[in-house]
């Protein structure tokens, strides 16, 4: 059996989203089995299957160094606090 990654695009959207994985003997059988496993309730209007053997997989070493860089994250809190204090000051005038 081979493993396939299943992607669906919803009607009205442009991006495909990964919805899960599945097993099938080969590509021809994978398509109808994927349809029944992941799209039988019309969860999407287009479907892609990717043979897991064809994925280009990054090494952990390539990804890991970006794990601890809080300066790259902006939760918007400081800007929100600033706007609120400005608004409160205006209301007080």
């Amino acid at each position: 059996m081979k493993t396939y990654e299943v992607f669906l695009k919803k009607d009205g959207k442009t991006q495909f989203r990964h919805v899960g994985s599945m097993q099938a003997p080969d590509a021809e059988m994978a398509l109808p089995l994927a349809r029944e496993s992941y799209a039988r309730r019309a969860e999407g209007d287009l479907m892609w299957l990717v043979d897991r053997d064809d994925l280009i997989v990054a090494d952990d070493d390539l990804i890991a160094p970006n794990a601890n860089k809080p300066h790259r994250h902006n939760d918007g809190k400081r800007v929100a606090d600033h706007r609120r204090s400005h608004r409160d000051k205006e209301a007080g005038e």
């Binding site: 059996m1 599945m22 097993q23 099938a24 003997p25 021809e28 059988m29 109808p32 089995l33 994927a34 349809r35 029944e36 496993s37 039988r40």
Partner: protein, 249 residues
């Protein structure tokens, strides 16, 4: 009941509806038991399609679907024995699925130009589903034909076991001539049998299975007789509704 239908037309539609109901029930019994998860889902999805057809056909008859589908006397059903077979091994279930869907596809073709408008609409929808059902069955049978000896032997044995009962599906109900003269269907069971035999024969030959047409076909007496497997099946199907027939589930 739908009074605009003649008794013959009603009986003909009833036979089709009961076949779809009973085959759907048999196929759904594979939930959790299929050869692998994805096939389990695919086969039960096919079963749901067949149950959907059954509901639509019962609705054409103008009946209270749940009660009518589940609470008749066995003699009032018109299901073919092919649908009633338990087929508790996957090879039997697969071969029965293919033989039934070859027949079902022909039956939908035979009502594509029905005098009954709702039936024409239903046929158009069902034919799209049937293409997939047949592809599904054939994918397996083609692969098993080119696989190892065990698979070939099991399919050979399953074809030999199921084929006589499958031929019995074409035994017409008494009302068929009236259904044809009303234009409900445009082809007789005898005509469809010829087409079905041609398709079955051509595919089995192309796959290279070892088989032959049976000489003995069980007599279902115009589908008025149920097979020995039916009562147990009906009892199982009734397990929930008989708890309280008036409850809306």
């Amino acid at each position: 009941m739908n009074d605009s239908l003649s008794p013959g037309a009603s009986e003909w539609l009833l036979a089709f509806a009961d076949d779809e109901h009973i085959i759907g029930a048999r196929h759904t019994s594979w939930i959790g038991l299929g050869p692998f998860l994805e096939e389990d889902l695919a086969f039960c999805s096919i079963a749901q399609d067949e149950l959907g057809h059954a509901i639509a056909l019962y609705e054409l008859l103008g009946v209270d679907v749940d009660r009518f589908a589940l609470l008749r006397e066995p003699s009032e059903y018109r299901s073919a024995w092919l649908c009633e077979l338990p087929c508790e091994d996957w090879d039997l279930a697969l071969v029965r699925h293919w033989l039934y869907d070859e027949a079902e596809a022909l039956r939908w073709e035979s009502v594509a130009n029905s005098s009954l408008e709702e039936l024409r609409f239903l046929a158009a929808r069902a034919q799209r589903e049937e293409r997939f059902h047949l592809d599904h069955a054939e994918m397996y049978l083609r692969r098993l034909a080119h696989g190892d000896a065990e698979g070939q032997n099991r399919i050979n044995a399953a074809v030999a076991s199921v084929l006589p009962t499958a031929l019995g599906l074409w035994e017409p109900v008494a009302g068929e001539p009236e259904a044809i003269s009303d234009g409900i269907t445009t082809q007789s069971s005898a005509e469809l049998t010829v087409l079905w035999r041609d398709r079955v024969e051509a595919k089995l030959a192309s796959w290279g299975y070892d088989w032959q047409w049976p000489t003995e076909i069980p007599d279902q007496q115009g589908r008025t007789q149920r097979s020995r497997h039916f009562e147990r099946l009906l009892r199982d199907l009734q397990a929930v509704i008989t708890v309280d027939v008036d409850t809306v589930w």
